[in-house]
Subunit: 324 residues, 2 copies
């Protein structure tokens, strides 16, 4: 980030519910921000329009025109090719399939758009502005509705041979485990994500286990979320604690794999599920250390992500700055 002081980029974070956009300067500071709605069910045209609306609002806030921008970074969950700008599939926006998302926005703004996976964006953001400053070999893992990861090797995102790496959320840790939307089964994601946690809680409730979790959702098991389970666990609910302990175990198994495969110096954990904090993460780290080679688990540090909700927009913006 050695650009002139007047360099401005926009970072966009396209999520299943919201579009976020921010104008960011060469130092990685947000000068303006906006949040809009993702019309997830309405297809690519409506989604692109919503992105552009958000971009125009944030440009207005910053008293800028699109022509003042140096580039745009676009973060989106799912499988995408950063070289072609095509989004193949996004778990939270099923109407987007094989869409040349970067190209569609480039055409409207007249500026280069860098499309990237949300976890890769967050990894870049944490490296430059957050918990991974100074680290050269680390992994950012987002524990959220799904599980994503960005692997940084020698200070650069590891993209693989066609830009699709890395998807450890779909590494198999329990080969006969639950089916996964990806077509496989026993992947890390359907065992250790926020969705997995809530599903397991619901299943146990339906088995008739007595729990105060239902008090938080008017007795409607369908409305149980990871957050609600966490609140019940904080008040000592036995089922809630069991559900979190089980999720922690699976989080730890996956982390052990990442340690034995990558020998990283640091693993940064982000995503909504990680907000449960020590109750989830400490036993997960313990399981990982128990499972991985001590020579590798002894050197790895674990840290919580620092950028929170801003990781997507900031990471996308910082990535775009790095490409200038």
């Amino acid at each position: 980030m050695s650009q002139h002081d007047d360099t401005r980029v926009i970072g966009i974070d396209l999520g299943g519910s919201n579009v976020r956009a921010a104008v960011v300067n060469a130092q990685g500071q947000m000068l303006a921000r906006d949040q809009g709605i993702t019309p997830a069910d309405e297809g690519s045209e409506a989604i692109v329009k919503s992105i552009l609306d958000s971009v125009n609002r944030v440009l207005g806030q910053a008293h800028l025109a699109a022509s003042d921008l140096s580039a745009v970074g676009l973060s989106c969950a799912g499988l995408s090719n950063p070289e072609t700008g095509i989004l193949y599939t996004s778990p939270n926006i099923p109407t987007l399939k094989d869409v040349p998302l970067a190209g569609l926005i480039e055409k409207e703004l007249g500026k280069k758009v860098f499309l990237m996976n949300d976890a890769n964006a967050a990894a870049v953001g944490e490296m430059h502005l957050g918990a991974a400053r100074g680290a050269r070999n680390f992994i950012y893992v987002t524990l959220s509705t799904g599980i994503g990861a960005g692997v940084v090797i020698d200070g650069k995102i590891y993209a693989g041979s066609t830009g699709l790496a890395s998807e450890p959320g779909h590494m198999i840790i329990s080969d006969e485990g639950p089916e996964c939307y990806c077509g496989s089964r026993g992947c890390w994601e359907p065992l250790a994500s926020g969705t997995a946690l809530a599903n397991y809680a619901r299943r146990r409730i339906q088995e008739g286990i007595k729990t105060s979790i239902l008090d938080y959702v008017d007795g409607d098991a369908e409305r149980v979320t990871a957050e609600v389970v966490h609140r019940a666990a904080q008040r000592g609910d036995a089922l809630a604690k069991e559900v979190i302990a089980r999720t922690a175990y699976y989080v730890g198994v996956g982390l052990a794999n990442l340690i034995n495969i990558f020998n990283p110096e640091l693993i940064v954990i982000g995503g909504g599920l990680s907000n449960i904090g020590d109750m989830l993460l400490e036993p997960a780290y313990e399981e990982a250390r128990r499972r991985a080679f001590s020579q590798m688990s002894d050197v790895v540090r674990f840290a919580r992500a620092k950028l929170g909700e801003d990781s997507g927009v900031l990471g996308a913006a910082v990535f775009a700055l790095g490409e200038l």
Copy 2:
């Protein structure tokens, strides 16, 4: 490998049964070779002596002195740190623990010794002289008594933050699966290695399944090996075919993980177990493609390793040449 024509290195492959050594020129050609015994139970002093004996014999064959060498490459199964030259642990040579192996040999020969994991050595060998020529992002997997791997990124071995990457043989693919010597359970290795195959065959035989496998080992189930199971399967033995199919399934599950994590262009399969060939590998590739994201499994090629028994010595030698 742009060294002068008179550049000579030695590659050493320290295995559980044998020490191999070869004099190699700048073009990667073997000028002389030797094979000795590994006194695996006698500890580091005896093992170093055996290595030096082999080196001296091969130097004699090539009419060279140690002083004529530019460097030495040393390949050994197990966990080692290429920067310090320390071998932490080797599955087939349990008497070697935390031994400064490179340093001990350097002291005797007066030449720089590069210590590396045997799978990393084989990956380098296949990249320069074998099945991975021209590939920049690929994974070499050895299916042998254990499972090892060398990950090549942008033409270089991926070493991780402290030189210990990568050990996907100890990625967990079945979290409640069999115990592994590493302390974890359900790792790829105790499910998909040659040892795993033979163990499973023995277990099924002990359950009383009728099989011709025993005909090859004088009725002694303890002597069953992967090779014997393969021979019985080729003659149509039902249990032998079941055992190989089960191993293929687990090989495939692990390969799916490598595809989803690394998005490689190529996976090269070597090691003694891979000599079973299509009967093992085709169903393994099929399972991997079924499990991995199609966008990634569509681009990956699978190939058999080409260097065979020479992969260790050649890879170690070529690695040493690359460091000159």
